[in-house]
């Protein structure tokens, strides 16, 4: 009998162009996504060396990182403008398809790939962005690369990669009501740390993962990199197939059914062995809030901010102390007592239609707290239009949220959407690093529902009690 294999091994083996002992493998890349920030130097390199893009047809570019999310027709920031114009010029010169700022397909690169059906099970996908792991939700091997590698893939459609080790993160049982995919991935990183995935590709398995929608799976895989893993994926199943049916870049009719069979056969075989395995029980997970300066520094909403003295060793104590100081928090205070000034619902982690819909259900009939400025930034132009068709924008606007155009926005604050120094933001993004949302800005990562509830209360609150308390 054939040895059982993981999906990771199956995809890997299908993409080896060249292998040699003691060297990385040369791997073929099926889809290369490009954006304005990490590509200019790569195209410049090609030009300098008189090289071309080998497969423009397997390359797709968009503008997301520093596009403005209001008043799109005037880009005030000269440097951002140059970067966008440079991408446009490069795409024209090298024949790469581009969804520029005014294009109906524009959006965050990790939102539009799946939306257009470019992302498919079994593909190898790269992008000069660490959250490329998002596409793993479809059972693709997807990882972030640096600009030199972007140039390399443009020129050769391949990449040198050391075969990764495999790590099974098994989530047993079911998530409770009000507990989302975001809480799940934060809890995983909180439990196992920000580097437990380093050197591995994670496969998420178990009942709670199977139960997730594709949007939820994308949220989980998106944050694999925050656990140190370059890629995280989920074996394809019927949920995956139904999501992809009818998407623009997948075939239809019989051809689709045939493809769907192939996709299913990629799933990890019964009895396949991983290099490492960890488990977590979904039932024990509560809505999460990060209190510190990396995504592993998170606690259940019912808990108190940690006290440095309780940490196991001196290094940890120092780290907690430094994080508390940056965040302006006292060890031991209840996280629900912390007031916020900003709410950001958006980013490649949580800006899909399903995210916005769930958040709007919390918001409906309420008003944003007077001390809070809240913005919703849809992940793509298409998410925005669909939400508007459903009246989701009206719910947010009536509550006092700003409703913006698609882009990365306040996730990394490269455009004008910045959290001022010392102010606090409940954010549905993926990184709470120092200065991420603006110099001196304080970021707390939460789910869209938790962010919506915090916007209304003006402080963190347990979304599971929110409905009960406010509707009475």
């Amino acid at each position: 009998m054939r040895t059982p294999k993981t999906i990771i091994e199956k995809i890997w083996e299908k993409h080896i162009v060249h292998e040699e002992a003691e060297k990385p493998d040369l791997l073929y890349i099926d889809l290369h996504l490009v954006h304005e920030v990490t590509s200019p130097q790569a195209f410049e390199g090609l030009r300098m060396n008189k090289r071309t893009v080998r497969r423009p047809d397997l390359t797709f570019a968009t503008m997301d990182h520093n596009v403005p999310t209001i008043h799109r027709n005037v880009i005030k920031d000269e440097v951002s403008k140059t970067q966008m114009e440079t991408l446009k010029k490069n795409c024209e010169e090298f024949g790469v398809p581009l969804a520029d700022i005014h294009h109906p397909d524009q959006g965050i690169v990790h939102v539009i790939g799946p939306e257009l059906g470019l992302t498919q099970p079994g593909k190898t996908i790269v992008c000069g962005d660490s959250h490329t792991s998002t596409h793993g939700a479809f059972g693709a091997l997807a990882f972030g690369i640096g600009t030199s590698e972007v140039e390399h893939v443009l020129a050769t459609q391949t990449i040198w990669q050391q075969k990764p080790k495999t790590l099974n993160v098994k989530v047993n049982g079911k998530l409770g009501t009000g507990v989302t995919a975001k809480d799940l991935i934060l809890a995983i990183i909180g439990k196992f740390g920000v580097k437990f995935g380093t050197g591995y590709v994670i496969e998420y398995t178990g009942e709670a993962i199977r139960d997730l929608t594709m949007e939820g799976r994308m949220t989980v895989c998106n944050m694999s990199i925050e656990a140190g893993a370059r890629a995280g994926l989920i074996s394809p199943d019927d949920t995956t197939i139904e999501f992809l049916r009818g998407k623009r870049h997948v075939p239809d009719g019989e051809a689709f059914d045939q493809l769907a069979e192939e996709w299913k056969s990629l799933a990890t075989d019964e009895g396949a062995v991983y290099d490492e395995q960890v488990e977590i029980d979904a039932e024990e997970i509560e809505p999460q809030v990060t209190w510190g300066t990396n995504p592993g520094m998170c606690i259940p909403v019912s808990a108190n901010v940690p006290v440095p003295e309780d940490a196991a060793n001196e290094n940890d104590q120092e780290e907690i102390k430094r994080a508390l100081e940056y965040m302006g928090l006292q060890g031991g205070e209840a996280i629900t007592s912390v007031p916020i000034e900003h709410v950001f619902i958006g980013s490649c982690t949580n800006s899909r239609l399903a995210d916005l819909k769930l958040a709007s259900e919390i918001v409906k009939g309420h008003k944003v707290h007077p001390n809070v400025r809240a913005i919703v930034v849809p992940g793509s132009h298409s998410v925005k239009t669909q939400a508007e068709e459903l009246g989701i924008d009206v719910i947010f606007k009536e509550a006092g949220f700003e409703w913006r155009d698609a882009g990365c926005s306040m996730c990394l604050a490269m455009n004008d959407d910045i959290v001022p120094e010392g102010e606090r933001c409940a954010s549905t993004s993926n990184r709470n690093f120092e200065g991420r949302q603006g110099t001196g800005a304080r970021t707390h990562l939460v789910s869209p529902e938790m962010a919506a509830a915090a916007a209304i209360k003006g402080h963190f609150t347990d979304v599971r009690q929110f409905g009960a308390v406010t509707s009475s």
Binding site: V17, H18, E22, K23, P24, L26, Y28, V37, T38, P40, Q41, E44, N49, R51, R54, H65, N66, D77, V79, S80, T82, Q83, T86, G128, D129, S130, G144, I145, G146, T147, S148, E149, E151, H152, A155, T156, Q157, T158, W160, Q162, V194, K195, T198, G199, G228, R230, N294, N315, E319, L412, A413, M414, E421, R431, F433, E434, G435, R436, T439, G440
Partner: protein
């Protein structure tokens, strides 16, 4: 890319774990479209205050580390964003070697593609180097051919680096030219799948 075989230099100790690429180069500097000139922005939010004045209390600003070329830091160095501007900034500032107990994968790869040698030593060895460099001007020699790090006071440690990366760094080769030797194989692969 400049080859790196044996490098002797002044050590700068950064005793922090999980230093992310947002710290190495904050995003407001990512908008340039060339590879050069990022060194002035390295660790910007630590080196400068909100008015853009040099923070004297941040150690890298001290005169004793002025000519540093070797950065020694805590575990999981370079985590977070994949921005290659991080190694560009470090390299442009003058660093040729980084020593840490562990690195984030993407950052580690990005280093070797830009002529920076990322050395992995044990936590204990790293702590020794940090202590030495905090105490005084401290010089180390990093020998990539021998895969060894040593000073002239008896410290010696060896490290590992995969054969491919080592060869690339030793010769200063760029990946693409190497890969283009396999162009036929790539074409065959494409044909087989079409």
């Amino acid at each position: 890319m400049e080859p790196i075989r044996k490098h002797e230099g002044l050590v700068y100790p950064l005793n922090r774990a999980n230093v992310d690429t947002d710290q190495i180069i904050p995003k407001q500097f990512l908008k340039r479209i060339s590879r050069q000139g990022f060194g002035q922005f390295v660790f910007y939010n630590w080196r400068f205050d909100s008015k853009g004045e040099l923070r004297e209390d941040f150690s890298l600003n001290q005169p004793k580390y002025e000519d540093t070329t070797i950065l020694v830091a805590g575990e999981n160095f370079g985590c977070g964003s994949s921005r290659e501007h991080a190694p560009w900034a470090l390299q442009d500032y003058g660093f040729r070697v980084i020593i840490a107990p562990s690195y984030a994968d993407i950052f580690y790869n990005n280093c070797t593609k830009n002529g920076i040698l990322p050395v992995k030593l044990t936590e204990a060895e790293v702590q020794t180097l940090i202590k030495n460099a905090e105490a005084d001007k401290y010089y180390l020699t990093v020998d990539l051919e021998e895969k060894k790090v040593y000073d002239n006071q008896g410290f010696e440690a060896s490290f590992d680096l995969d054969a491919y990366k080592r060869e690339m760094l030793l010769n200063g080769w760029d990946d693409i030219s190497v890969t283009l030797n396999y162009a036929d194989q790539i074409a065959e692969f494409e044909k087989a799948r079409a």
